[in-house]
Amino acid sequence: MGFKHIFFKEETCTGCNACVEVCMCDAFAPNPVKGKPPLLVYPEECWFCGCCISRCPSREQGAIRMVTPFQMRGSFQRDRREAS
């Protein structure tokens, strides 16, 4: 299985393809089956701006979500008191 960081929820994604249109990197393609979630074709070309999420009409219903890739996670102190 290749790298993937954008996940759709079949039950709430209406297949409107707003994310396909808005993606600056052209990372998605519409699903050949109408009404189904788009396909993430080029995940490694993502700029991680999140416009696919912030401009999704069904975002409140969790239709689309991003899991931040491991190597791009921040480094922070989990609990300041413990660390000091």
Binding site: V22, M24, C25, V41, C49, G50, C51, I53, M66, T68
Partner: protein
């Protein structure tokens, strides 16, 4: 794949690149009656360019506030020239940006962008924070929805928006713009535009260096921007300045994917964090805030500038010092918000939400990690690729009306060189001005020129070979190869020997055949061709500039280690003549 179709489009004003500058140009041009405007974007104007996912700040001279301080536009110009541009300064571009941005803010408010807040203590109800000048000059605003809003305004004025077409060639006839060629990265169709005037606003060149996170497209500024405008301009014989300033300007910064702009105590999220070491010792204190209560009581004086310059020097020192401290084993360093009040945290989250990848940062930081700004100190470390940043002010050399040497062709935004950190004010104001100029020229001209068709045919043939040929490299192989050679031969330390070898190697990249399996990959192949052109210009200009300049420009020639203001405090312009030879000119900076 099948043979590529030719799509002809005739218009009056052609705008190439639909970021902030391009959208503003199209909106302004379309305000003129009976002027047809076409706006082309390689992505979608709803989310493209540096403001794709929003910006939360824009600098300006703000008359209702700055007049009360006794701070003039000339005072601000001098602040910018000395403290922000480090001498690489075009006064005309500054005056256009600082002097007209307030009018553009009022326009943006008219479009529905929010700039005023009930809790503000500042005249007008604004939020104004310090950024590049000795007094606060940057509006903080709800800029998250900028691109959808500007797209709507453009459509409302009848602008024809052509998305997913990347521009490849300028068509010139007898020294005047006649049109341009583009390629659709969705269909592979070749677009043949004819226009009476044009605006070039394709932005920065952002994929010239390997990315340490392992994701090549995880550049700090948007990765689709591959310097297409610079590439087109050079091939059309136009001069480009400052392109040698590809450097690592950032040193340490908040690490990971997100640069939510809250970490630098001198950045535009105010109040911000302070920087502490692992034991909690304060390395860089929090910013001192402007006392708005006393606005108008104390007038600005030269002493304010001198204090600001001293602070700025200390801050730059602190930042460079961090890198040095880190190297001597004193790290790690952290951004510390532990003393921030609830009100400040609410403000910081609001500000982050409207800027860049901020929405996703908050979702990640608060959601995925379950973290808390106050309790969980973020490490100040950073893994950044080198970039041609806002400090470099790389781009087209234009006249005071933003016109290039090709008549009726104007530049706007980051496409234009000469004003460091012109950033969004540059884009808003130059876009507006270029749009007005291009519309005027279009009205003056009766009919479209007939451009030569050879360039269109050649581009179609080249694309056809890439999509229908069986041999060739995948675009990514060549792109990574070019980035590697740039990092090796044109990295943090340069020299004549290395740069010359880099130029030999770039020839190999130019000769490498590319193959595309579909229109999307065809678009990427065209990106790579732009990247190669840009890389070559960086190498050539780096070879020509025989001096070193310390950070933030970070230009180091091992064979010319000293800064040489007498000979090199100039804009270095590179151009290609009709025989394919590169020429240089030293253009004066403004005093």
């Amino acid at each position: 794949m099948k043979h590529l179709n030719l799509v002809p489009i005739e218009t009056d004003v052609l705008v190439m690149g639909g970021g902030l500058a391009g959208c503003m140009a199209a909106i302004r041009a379309a305000e003129e009656e009976s002027v047809r405007v076409t706006l082309v974007d390689k992505s979608n104007t709803l989310a493209s360019g540096c403001a794709a996912s929003g910006i939360d700040h824009v600098w300006s001279y703000i008359p209702p506030v700055h007049e009360k301080m006794g701070y003039t536009l000339e005072d601000m110009a001098e602040d910018h020239r000395v403290g922000t541009s480090y001498g690489f300064f075009r006064r005309d571009l500054f005056t256009l940006a600082a002097g007209t941005m307030y009018e553009r803010v009022l326009d943006l408010e008219g479009f529905g962008i929010r700039f005023r807040y009930e809790d503000s203590k500042i005249p007008g109800g604004f939020r104004i924070v310090p950024q590049f000048h000795s007094v606060p000059t940057s509006f903080n605003f709800d800029g998250g929805p900028l691109k959808p809003v500007l797209t709507k305004e453009a459509r409302r004025r009848g602008v024809q928006i052509v998305n997913r077409v990347q521009m490849t060639d300028l068509l010139v006839r007898e020294g005047q713009i006649a049109g341009a060629v583009g390629v659709s990265n969705r269909t592979g169709d070749i677009y043949f535009f004819r226009s009476k005037s044009a605006v070039l606003s394709s932005g920065r060149s952002n994929r010239l260096s390997r990315n340490p996170t392992g994701f090549d497209f995880n550049t700090r500024m948007p990765s689709p921007m591959s310097g297409d405008g610079t590439s087109m301009a050079i091939r059309a014989g136009l001069p480009v300045i400052n392109i040698e300033f590809l450097s690592n300007i950032l040193g340490l910064g908040p690490c990971g994917n997100y640069n939510p702009n809250y970490g630098d105590p001198r950045n535009t999220v105010q109040p911000a964090a302070r920087i502490v070491d692992g034991r909690g010792n304060v390395i860089v204190p929090r910013t001192q805030f402007y006392d708005w209560e006393s606005l108008g009581q104390v007038k600005w004086t030269e002493a304010v500038r001198q204090q600001w310059l001293a602070d700025r020097k200390a801050w730059r020192g602190a930042r460079a010092g961090l890198v040095k401290r880190h190297a001597s084993g004193e790290g790690p360093f952290f951004l510390d918000f532990s003393e921030a009040s609830d009100e400040e945290i609410a403000y910081i989250e609001w500000s982050i939400r409207h800027e860049g990848k901020g929405t996703q940062f908050l979702r990640y930081f608060l959601g995925e990690e379950g973290a808390d700004l106050r309790r969980n100190r973020q490490e100040y470390a950073g893994l950044w690729p080198r970039e041609i940043s806002g400090t470099a002010a790389k781009g087209l050399w234009v006249d005071k009306n933003l016109e290039t040497e090709i008549r009726n062709l104007f530049g706007a935004g980051d496409e234009v060189g000469g004003l460091p950190w012109q950033a969004s004010p540059g884009a808003f104001t130059q876009g507006w001005h270029a749009g007005a100029m291009a519309a005027r020229r279009a009205k003056e001209q009766r009919s479209l020129l007939q451009p030569e068709r050879e360039t269109v045919a050649r581009r179609a043939q080249m694309c056809d070979a890439m999509v229908n040929g069986s041999d060739g490299f995948h675009w990514k192989e060549v792109e990574i190869g070019v980035q590697n050679l740039m990092d090796f031969y044109c990295g943090d330390v340069r020299s004549e020997g290395l740069l010359k070898r880099g130029l030999e190697r770039i020839e190999d990249a130019k000769q490498a055949p590319l193959r595309a399996e579909n229109p999307h990959e065809l678009g990427r192949c065209l990106d790579v061709m732009s990247i190669i052109d840009n890389a070559e210009l960086v190498l050539r200009s780096s070879l020509e500039r025989k001096e070193s300049r310390p950070g933030p420009l970070g230009f180091v020639r091992a064979d010319y280690p000293d800064q040489d203001d007498k000979n090199w405090l100039v804009f270095l312009a590179i151009r290609k003549d009709e025989h394919g030879r590169f020429n240089f000119a030293k253009l004066p900076v403004d005093p």
